[in-house]
Symmetry: C2
Subunit: 210 residues, 2 copies
């Protein structure tokens, strides 16, 4: 059962693929990269993945020490899955894959998940000539995320932090469009696809203008 087919190769690359090389595994890691998620949230983020598949992957990643699950205290009484410290170290792998895959054509009818847009947001902010400084909140799928720009670095963490410069509520697909074309910000606001609180105009992390 847990005999995940091994490449039986002593190479570190093959050993990594023995753990995260199965279908969907790295996409599950991507969704957990910015914070814990529940089963149903993972399911929504990965529309093509069946429930059976998600269960298998989570168990397998858990048995390899990449993921762990935790039962939330009452009244939530639900289960969340999160990366272990070891799992978090896969960030570099995902960044490398994303860097390479960005020049591949987009599939037709493709979706944009929570983890996908957060990775995109962070990579753009980090690639900026002068990374944004400040603290912002973004609400996606009903969950708040903090964008922390400080000392030339940009981090994204789950949950809202006090003192945010502004708070933007939208959905992953809209945010993805805005990252690709920040000029559409006003239009997204007027059409109700995004709601801004606490400030006027597009937040600094969104604007590409030098």
């Amino acid at each position: 059962m847990a005999t995940s087919r091994s490449y039986r190769d002593r190479c570190p690359v093959a050993r990594a693929l023995d753990v995260v090389g199965e279908r969907w595994a790295l996409l599950v890691v991507r969704e957990l990269l910015f914070g814990p998620q529940r089963f149903s949230e993972l399911r929504r983020a990965l529309p093509g993945a069946s429930t059976n598949m998600l269960t298998d992957r989570l168990r397998e990643l858990e048995s390899h020490g990449v993921v762990e699950h935790r039962t939330l205290p009452p009244p939530a009484a639900s289960t969340v899955y999160q990366l272990t410290e070891r799992g978090n170290k896969l960030e570099g792998v995902l960044d490398a894959l994303g860097g390479w895959g960005a020049s591949e054509p987009e599939p037709v009818g493709g979706s944009v998940s929570l983890g996908a847009v957060l990775m995109f947001l962070r990579s753009l902010a980090r690639a900026h000539v002068n990374p944004p400084k400040g603290l912002w909140t973004v609400i996606l799928e009903g969950q708040p995320w903090s964008i922390i720009g400080r000392d030339g670095t940009v981090e994204i963490s789950p949950g809202a932090l006090p003192g945010a410069d502004s708070q933007l509520e939208t959905d992953p697909t809209t945010l993805n469009s805005l990252l690709l074309d920040p000029a559409g910000f006003d239009s997204a606001i007027t059409h109700g696809r995004a709601v801004l609180h606490g400030a006027e105009g597009a937040p600094a992390w969104l604007s590409v203008a030098d």
Copy 2:
């Protein structure tokens, strides 16, 4: 045949995995990372991969512009597979995966392939406090490879170059052991598992001593 199942996800990570996420794909890329290889050489390097698997993967990678095949001029009259320029850019992905996978346990009865040991060699040489300077030849599986240390960088290219400081002939498994434990060098020579030409003592790129 070329039914590459897509994740239908617009995220660059998923787009990369649409191309190189199938089983064996990245290990094929690993084997081609240091130079062209023929079908039978790939087969020897990947003992667990069946012939039809290799055929499928090579065709698929070729259709995605990662691999290309070339027919050697007579009298060789054989076919070699090599990475395209785009395929070569996967080096960073393999490095990241290898860096992560190095702390995973080695599988029992694992093999060591040509590409695996060359990646290992290069990563060790690059991680050295002062990378080796010089030109050496290593012969593995009957093929010569040049180790070029210059300006603090280390490159490995296929074929022998004139003026090498020394030439070491051995097999991937022995070389892997020597990289893990350079003290075994003399023993490997005396037992005939490695043959050294053109110099005395272990080549500089092998010695770990500061």
